[in-house]
Subunit: 205 residues, 2 copies
């Protein structure tokens, strides 16, 4: 397979494109769209967002030490994109995009009510790296839309919210399911079990 | 919209599920699958992987200070899943999954030849967080499969490689394109331009 060498760059995809909400009173509530985000630790649950220091939300998050990661969906993609290119210095993004600032459980920052999942975060460290500074944060609460929650099984059908993936400058819906975590070894187990069963049957014959 | 409060946890999705290759000689080459990964800085280009200290690759990456992030595809999903649940202590994962260790340009760690993109990384810091330690790293080279590269336009059709997204324990193909970065404001520009044109025509009448 032929490979070309590129200059070092950011080609790690697909990524989430989340709307991060911040602020500590309705007058300064803001939203910034971020793809440089992810989970950094399972326990304690921690995630990060990387933000350019020049962005309006940078100072807001630095001062309050809090933000909410709001997962986005097909229906929220227009607002997600818009909030990523417009500045909170010039617009009230909640009003402009007709999004509802809701009350978080632990942090003062607002949640975006229309998002299927709201991850409330408290900053533990700010790490200057270059164009971006990384906000490392602990997850202090998760709110989830009950319409995707099955109270009988405890399962949360996140896929039904029509989540969106960001790939090299474009937004995509998710498509066909390929498998679930661990399916590669489950299959082998099944194969082995089938063989064992066949062996048992043979022994009986 | 009704929301339920969950205990703090990891619900930031969709994420990439990448195969990270490491080692400095063929006898110790290994692969570990990682979803706790992402871009943390645009310039210098930096990414991270979070790894449990008990994992076989942890010591390997710590000692060599290098790893390669290999993007995965529909055809690589079985190997991706398998490498995520098996240990390099018990298996030669390249051999078992019939993957080809290729030569990176800058680092000693192998690339996975079958992956459409290989991101060569050099560790800048290891940050213990809890169950996971975060390896912050600088991207020192990117290799890309030339079959997705258009030498005329310089465009790289990553979508054609059939990338995979990891969502809350399941692997999905990407589906329909919703838009490209900035489309929310492009549309408005077009609308305004259309109005301006109509105004010009009116003035002429």
């Amino acid at each position: 397979m032929g490979k070309i060498d590129w200059k070092p760059g950011n080609m790690l995809y697909p990524l989430p494109a989340v709307m991060v909400s911040a602020g500590d009173s309705p007058e300064n509530f803001n939203i910034i769209t971020i793809a440089w985000t992810g989970t950094i630790c399972s326990d304690p649950p921690m995630c990060y967002i990387s933000v350019r220091p020049g962005r309006h939300s940078y100072d807001l998050i630095k001062r309050t030490g809090e933000f909410v990661v709001n997962l986005t969906t097909r229906d929220l993609t227009f607002a997600t994109d818009w909030c990523g290119v417009r500045s909170g210095r010039n617009f009230n993004k909640f009003e402009k995009m007709e999004l509802t600032p809701g009350k978080a459980k632990v942090v003062k920052a607002p949640i975006i009510d229309e998002a299927p999942v709201n991850i409330e975060c408290r900053v533990t460290e700010i790490k200057p790296l270059g164009t971006h500074h990384m906000f490392l944060a602990e997850v202090v609460n998760v709110k989830a839309d009950e319409q995707y929650y099955d109270s009988k099984t405890g399962a949360f059908a996140l896929k039904k919210s029509k989540p969106v993936a960001y790939l090299h400058g474009k937004y995509y819906e998710l498509g066909k399911k390929i498998g679930k975590f661990g399916y590669a070894v489950e299959k082998k187990k099944t194969k082995r079990k089938r063989k064992q069963k066949q062996q048992k049957l043979k022994n009986k014959e």
